[in-house]
Amino acid sequence: MNIVNRRLDLYALTWRLPIILWQLVFFVGPVVFMVAMSFFVVRNYRMMEAFEFANWERMLTRGFFWDSYWYTLFVASLSATIAMCVAFPAAWALAFRASESVRRWAIFLLVIPFFTSYLVRTFSWYVILAESGVLNAMLGYIGLGPFRMLNTHFGTIVGYLTLTLPLVVILQTVSMANIDKTLVEAARNLGCKPLATIWRVVLPLSKTGFIVAALFCFILAFGDFVAPFYLGGSQEPTLPILILDTTKSGQQWPRAAVVAIMMMLTLFTIAFTAIALAYRKPKGARA
């Protein structure tokens, strides 16, 4: 690694160029066009190329946009926090207590949800959490309930966790399992208490993986419309639901683009901060 090679040859270009060309056409292109589109106007249900601030003014001066904005930020942060905390004991157990083969199996099992439809899992939760659903029926046997779980924040969070929890457990487990075990043992031998070992040795060494996990979790929840729509009842529409509604009602793509750009600016700020933190090397640590 770190071989500085200023000579650009065919070999280097073969590996470097494909992604540049591909992303310019199919990633930068769409995003730039969407920014341009936010200044277009819609007349008679047809989008016309223009440069006007009407869409921006219309969206950013409305209370409903900002209500939705802060609510989305709140639930996404909440679900990332919950997912990170809920996943940690399991990931710790898998990384330090489980044998190599158990850990492999656990990660293999946790990959399985990626191969099942998120929509189907959401629909399944819908039926499980319903007023007369499976969970309430089970709680009924022990004399509890029925609880209202659908169309609540609880429902939304369950949906978000369905999406993010397996990924978070995997990322946490892998980043902790890659830690040099002798460092952890050294800390213990030098008299560091278990919780202090986690806080001062394990977490700093697996910082990158943890920040990436939390970031992914936040991003997934911030942009998901399925959980708040089907399980949260969308009484308080999140920004993704706003985009869906705006796109569908009267073909207002430019207004949807305004919401989308606001979401992207927010996410970039958060993501860049997080990545800068993740790759900042702690003092005195090995690279």
Binding site: W15, R16, I19, V31, F123, A137, G223, M263, L267
Partner: protein, 264 residues
């Protein structure tokens, strides 16, 4: 201090996490074989009615064919792009490396609903929307970073001197790639193919926006869910689950088999 009590607690806790993760999948399987239109406990009778319904549905079959084409093409494309980028990052330092890496790593930081809107607008502008390969183009952008991350992690475990050793022993850069880098990355490449295929197979927001009239399986599911409580969703979901799990296990078995052969 870190005794048996803690181990038992942790064991139960891991079990609980797995229960949460697998509850929707298992219940979906159970509901798909259950006669009630709105399933609850106690369960209704055993039935294959929902499977018969989707078996006879030409729309579902067409969607399955579309999904297979889309996810397999996406996997190959995205893994290739991911490998190139991971290797460039591993081997070289160059100017603008930050922006270069950002170019591939940014797409997953952008919510799918936004990518869906942007892709739809752009692809219709340049006349590429409404086709099956519109989905493949969009999905390759979305999934390449995952392939890149997996392969990069694997390269991180490789001793950089290994490649240099191959050159010193008289191999060209291309030979070192073929005989050292690619074999070393093989497990990551296989996992990248599986992961990207799976993400593509499950992706509905972007597909839904850019595909026009070409439905993939998630779009069919989305349309059914939007309608009403319909247990055929569980049947489709279970069918899709079994198919993709078979593929994953197959990939796993082939891979492990090959490893054992190469060791003996």
């Amino acid at each position: 201090m870190m005794g048996r009590g803690l181990n038992i607690f942790l064991g139960l806790y891991v079990g609980l996490i797995f229960a949460f993760v697998f509850a929707p999948i298992l219940f979906s399987l159970v509901f798909s074989l259950n006669s009630q239109r709105f399933p609850t406990i106690p369960l209704g009778e055993f039935t294959l009615e929902w499977y018969v319904q989707i078996w006879n549905d030409e729309d579902v079959w067409q969607a399955v064919r579309n999904s297979v084409i889309v996810s397999s093409s996406t996997a190959v494309l995205a893994t290739f792009l991911g490998f190139c980028t991971a290797y460039s990052d591993f081997r070289y330092n160059f100017r603008f490396k930050g922006p270069y890496l950002a170019l591939i790593l940014l797409p997953p930081t952008i919510p799918l609903i936004i990518m869906a809107l942007a892709m739809l607008a752009w692809l219709s502008r340049i006349g590429l929307s409404g086709q099956l390969w519109s989905i493949i183009l969009a999905h390759s952008v979305l999934t390449a970073p995952f392939a890149m991350a997996l392969i990069r992690l694997r390269l991180h475990q490789m001793d950089p001197d290994l490649e240099a050793a191959a050159w010193n022993l008289g191999g060209s850069e291309w030979q070192a790639m073929r005989h050292v880098i690619v074999p070393f990355c093989a497990p990551a490449i296989v996992s990248a193919l599986c992961l990207t295929a799976a993400i593509s197979f499950d992706e509905f927001a972007v597909s839904w926006f850019v595909s026009g009239l070409n439905k993939t399986v998630p779009i069919v599911i989305l349309e059914i869910v939007q309608g009403n409580i319909d247990p055929t969703v569980n049947a489709i979901g279970t069918f899709v689950f079994l198919t993709s799990m078979t593929l994953v296990i197959l990939a796993q078995v082939i891979f492990i088999g090959r490893q054992i052969k190469s060791h003996s």
